[in-house]
């Protein structure tokens, strides 16, 4: 009787995706972001060009897709038990408290990343706005070095990199763009899965594809715009990225870079898929949905990212300026190199620039809404709160986190520390937890049987071996190499730099808060008689 009364007090999560396509587009939207258009081509050029695709597709088949299938399966399994957050689902799938508390990482990652991701998203909106108004002040007749200097100057001021306090430093416009961006995000998430997130991605994803096709067609039809430099052509631009350097295949760094690109691009181990999949119908196809979401991400990454940015930069800047463009990384290529490229496009440059930054904004917003939803679901589930009340607490968390990110803006040190430790390091940990829970704790055979409920095709039999042995080993090797390469320097820089210590303190504070909420939730779930330790199969 007590259990029945407690059950009545539990919030009944009735939310479900209205269509199969909705959840696929939502997960794809979460995965498709700035990295697809900017990071991927830079990585490919730096790691063997066309030869990079061999380790890249190996990583897709052995790392990205299997972990994705595991996460989709666990999410839907949790949803069948009425659970929607990473801690509760991993606790049920992983049969106990250890997996449940490790599942807190699945809330920490999207929440902490959202602190700075929305800020970067606001840059895209701001650049879009400036291109609508006529560009960012690059003189089309000036030498490339002067144009690049102007683009860097605009970027530095707009993003507050020069000194702390993006608001106090004269970049109040950036704050306004952030406020608009944040409000859109919260409004979409508050409206719920079907009316907010699903409706938006159903519109945003096709729009993004159309905009990418427009930019792609423009770039591929540029021909040889400068008659004085006939070698700066579309074909040579494509060759700059795709001509393979086969000797790169013997370099372990190439394989590591390819695995890293796949891993971060697909958003596996991020805590989003597990939450989104929990709103699927009990017989929805997780095998096809997981594969389709990965395929969509690859389409944007290779099909668009692999053809647009480097080609455009090469045509207008030439080989001599490409090294700087590639070494500038994701943000250098996107916010300082491409504006120079747009200035060379004549009258159409500002229009193409506006389309480009609006497309990046859509890519970013479909990712950022997926970062708020897991925390919202977690607060509702663990505290038994209404969506409105949980949204208010989420907003409080985000205001504190994002204001700190925006205030301590000098050099991007504060947010890049969160990106290193949460957006990179912890993703490895969560992915490892997920694949071990799926293949070893729950059992790979039971896990695959669960995945096959409602599936239109079965996961090939050899994936049993891959998911149990190859993927965890591959992940462990990549993670080991990653730590060996980065951890000593990261730890050293935290010890020396107060801004980095502040970012670590923020991460620690958020972690403690989430653990406390999990503890409260654990007590409530037990009192309500929920099977949070996964002792029985779902009763639907």
């Amino acid at each position: 009787m007590a259990k029945e009364n407690a059950k009545k007090k539990m919030p009944v999560a009735k939310e479900e995706w209205a269509s199969k396509l909705g959840v696929i587009l939502a997960v794809s939207g979460s995965a498709v972001g700035l990295g697809n258009f900017l990071r991927f081509p830079g990585q490919a050029v730096s790691n063997g060009g066309g030869a990079f695709m061999i380790p890249y597709f190996c990583a897709l088949l052995l790392l990205g897709i299997p972990i994705g299938w595991a996460e989709w399966t666990m999410g839907r399994y949790g949803g069948r038990k009425g659970l929607h957050s990473s801690p509760s689902i991993l606790g049920a799938f992983g049969k106990g408290s250890v997996a449940r508390y490790l599942g807190v990482i699945g809330i920490l990652i999207p929440l902490a990343v959202s602190f700075y991701y929305t800020y970067i998203e606001a840059w895209c909106l701001g650049y879009f706005f400036h291109y609508l108004k006529g560009g960012i002040g690059i003189d089309a007749a000036a030498p490339v070095t002067e144009q690049t200097a102007r683009a860097v100057e605009f970027y530095t001021v707009f993003t507050g990199r020069e000194h702390n306090g993006v608001i106090a430093g004269g970049s109040i416009g950036t704050f306004v763009f952030w406020a608009v961006t944040f409000a859109i995000n919260i409004w979409l998430v508050f409206r719920g899965i079907t009316r907010g997130i699903e409706k938006f991605v159903n519109l945003a994803m096709p729009t993004m594809a159309v905009l990418a096709i427009i930019v792609l067609i423009r770039v591929l039809t540029l021909g040889t715009p400068d008659a004085a430099n006939p070698e700066q052509s579309v074909v040579n631009g494509l060759g700059y990225l795709w001509n393979p350097n086969l000797s790169a295949l013997t370099n372990p760094q190439t394989w590591l870079a390819a695995a890293g690109q796949i891993f971060f691009s697909l958003s596996v181990g991020f805590g989003v898929i597990i939450n989104y999949a929990s709103y699927m119908k009990k017989k929805s196809d997780v095998v096809l949905s997981g594969l389709t979401a990965s395929a969509t991400n690859e389409l944007f990454e290779v099909g668009f990212g692999g053809l647009i940015t480097i080609t455009a930069a090469f045509i207008f800047l030439g080989t001599s300026n490409m090294i700087g463009a590639v070494q500038g990384g994701t943000f250098g290529l996107g916010f300082t190199t491409l504006p120079v490229v747009f200035s060379h496009m004549g009258g159409a440059g500002n229009t193409i620039g506006a389309i480009w930054f609006f497309m990046l904004f859509l890519a970013a917003i479909t990712s950022s809404i997926s970062m708020y939803q897991p925390t919202l679901a977690f607060l509702m589930e663990a505290l038994g709160w209404t969506r409105k009340k949980a949204t208010m607490l989420l907003v409080c968390f985000c205001l504190v986190g994002s204001f700190l990110v925006m205030y301590f803006s000098a050099g991007g040190i504060f947010w890049s520390t969160i990106d290193d430790w949460v957006g990179t390091f912890l993703i490895f940990i969560l992915a490892m937890v997920q694949i071990i829970v799926f293949s070893w704790v729950f059992g790979v055979d039971k896990g695959l049987a669960e995945a096959h409920h409602g599936a239109h095709f079965k996961i090939p039999r050899f994936y049993r071996f891959i998911m149990k042995y190859v993927t965890p080993t591959y992940l462990l090797v990549v993670f080991g190499a990653f730590c060996w390469q980065n951890l000593p320097a990261w730890m050293g820089s935290v010890a020396e730099e107060p801004l980095r210590q502040g970012a670590m303190a923020l991460i620690a504070g958020v972690t403690v808060a989430l653990v406390i909420v999990t503890r409260i939730g654990e007590k409530r779930w037990r009192a309500a008689g929920l099977d949070i330790d996964g002792r029985e199969p779902p009763k639907d």
Partner: protein, 36 residues
Amino acid sequence: MTTLGWSAMIGSLVFVWGLAGWCYYKILTVDHHKHD
């Protein structure tokens, strides 16, 4: 662009477009009522 460059690019594009095309074809043509 070398022959190997063309091969790498076209092979990669065929793979990603083919995979996405096949997935969406399956999504749009399967019997939804049978499974949902």
